[in-house]
Subunit: 276 residues, 2 copies
């Protein structure tokens, strides 16, 4: 499958709230492509996981590039589950997950990109941002945490920042995990109804849901203004977890394959070493 | 198998260089316990990996404890391989690997524990130190990088530091991967003879080998002076990689089982939430 159906191209018109009427089928959260049900993706996913491990080793050995994966989406959209399933079998030493929560006082005292920049992966590594600097044009915008004149400038600032990363050897992949409002309702209810899942939920999560439309608007801006040639956004249909996982893993594998990496050249100085 | 054969007890006399003559069988790098060959540990290791994933989820959900795993040993002893195999299938989001290399100028300008302290895992997380603050009484001692009067005080400083960590909710596991000098020779030679492995080796690695006896002496001090009730050292027979992996995974699983962790209690306030 080519990555084209999920990529957002500069100039694309994105309407997240109203997808059924005016969008391509792959923009609908329920979309599952050529797959019908869960079991069908199990084998191909396992194969992709194995391929990803090989590519990660190569990335690490070559250490020319870093891979930064940015995951965004509404509460319960599956960011944690994606990390668990897509990265299953990866070498933990080559992968770093960074969670962006409410900024600390130290972080809030700097520009919004400061903590993101501090957390970018080293060459050879896969870095995953679970939420990211995009929160500064999402939650910040929805809840008026800074003036509009401030957050409006951030789209361009983000594009410039990501361009600099890419030009210096970091590959940037950005996934919006797209679930429907109904699917979120089901997932929240299942957490409420299962006492062992209560630790995963707070009243604040329910409160955030009432801002759904505002968030969709904020995400539309992000997807339109911050999809670039160098760091495109992908909209991932995410109502079906198993489909979400295979699509994202495919994108990552595909991206790493394109880097055309090689193991470092044999070193003739090493060949002559003598071990006593 | 109980952890007792591998643990170093306070007061134990450790002689690493001369193990065959005067030590327990499990102190010999070639030791493989009740196992005869590689294939035999495959199934039990897979089972342990699965159990470890469950325990990690629980550690994360409960977030009362952190687990800090310290890996030390001579070059080629298998620290990287241990991380790959023991942590196979773990959720990368709950695990953080920190590599301690030559200290930066910012690090050298502080006390030797500063960078270790900065890197300790959060509650809920498994942190792995690939090398650690112990290098400050190992390489530093062998190469006279600071005065003896300075490094001699560090054993107690390390014990106090680790005690503080443990008293504040971090479980500390310390593994010395014990290979023989002959085994290191084989492993270095196999890297020299395989051009695709040249990137893993430098002339400096060979040079370090000439300090083998000094390192063994330095390790003996570490193991004797820094094995404590709260943070014991384990000596892991590591000539056979497959045996090393299963022994370490067993220790980790065993340690987490003992924490007697529970999923956070159901929250009655959550049960009454209504999703619109």
């Amino acid at each position: 499958m080519s990555s084209q159906p999920f990529i957002v191209k500069p100039g694309d018109n994105i309407t997240l709230s109203n997808v059924e009427q005016d969008c391509k089928p792959e923009r609908i959260p329920d979309y599952t492509g050529t797959f019908q049900k869960k079991g069908e993706t199990k084998k191909p996913l396992k194969k992709l996981n194995k391929r990803l491990l090989k590519l990660q080793e190569l990335l690490y050995a070559e250490s020319k590039h870093a891979l930064l994966i940015i995951l965004q989406g509404m509460d319960t959209c599956g960011k944690d589950g994606t990390i668990r399933k897509v990265m299953a079998g990866i070498n933990v030493q080559g992968c770093e997950v960074v969670n962006f929560k409410v900024p600390s006082s130290d972080e809030i005292a700097r520009d919004f990109l400061w903590r993101a920049h501090k957390a970018v992966p080293k060459k050879g590594m896969i870095g995953i941002f679970n939420r990211s600097h995009y929160e500064d044009v999402l939650v910040v915008r929805v809840h008026d945490l800074v003036d509009e004149s401030v957050w409006k400038k951030r789209y361009q600032q983000i594009n410039d920042f990501e361009k600099m990363l890419v030009e210096n050897g970091t590959v940037v992949l950005k996934f919006f995990l797209h679930i429907s409002k109904d699917e979120q309702k089901e997932r929240l209810e299942s957490r409420i109804n299962d006492p062992t899942k209560h630790w995963k939920i707070t009243e604040a999560d329910i409160r955030e849901r009432s801002y759904w439309d505002d968030y969709m608007q904020a995400y539309e801006s992000v997807l339109q203004k911050c999809t670039t040639q160098w760091a495109p956004w992908y909209i991932i249909p995410a109502n079906r977890k198993w489909y979400r996982n295979i699509v994202i893993t495919e994108r990552i594998v595909e991206t790493l394959e394109k880097l055309d990496m090689n193991y470092p050249k044999p070193n003739s100085d090493v060949s002559t070493l003598y071990v006593d």
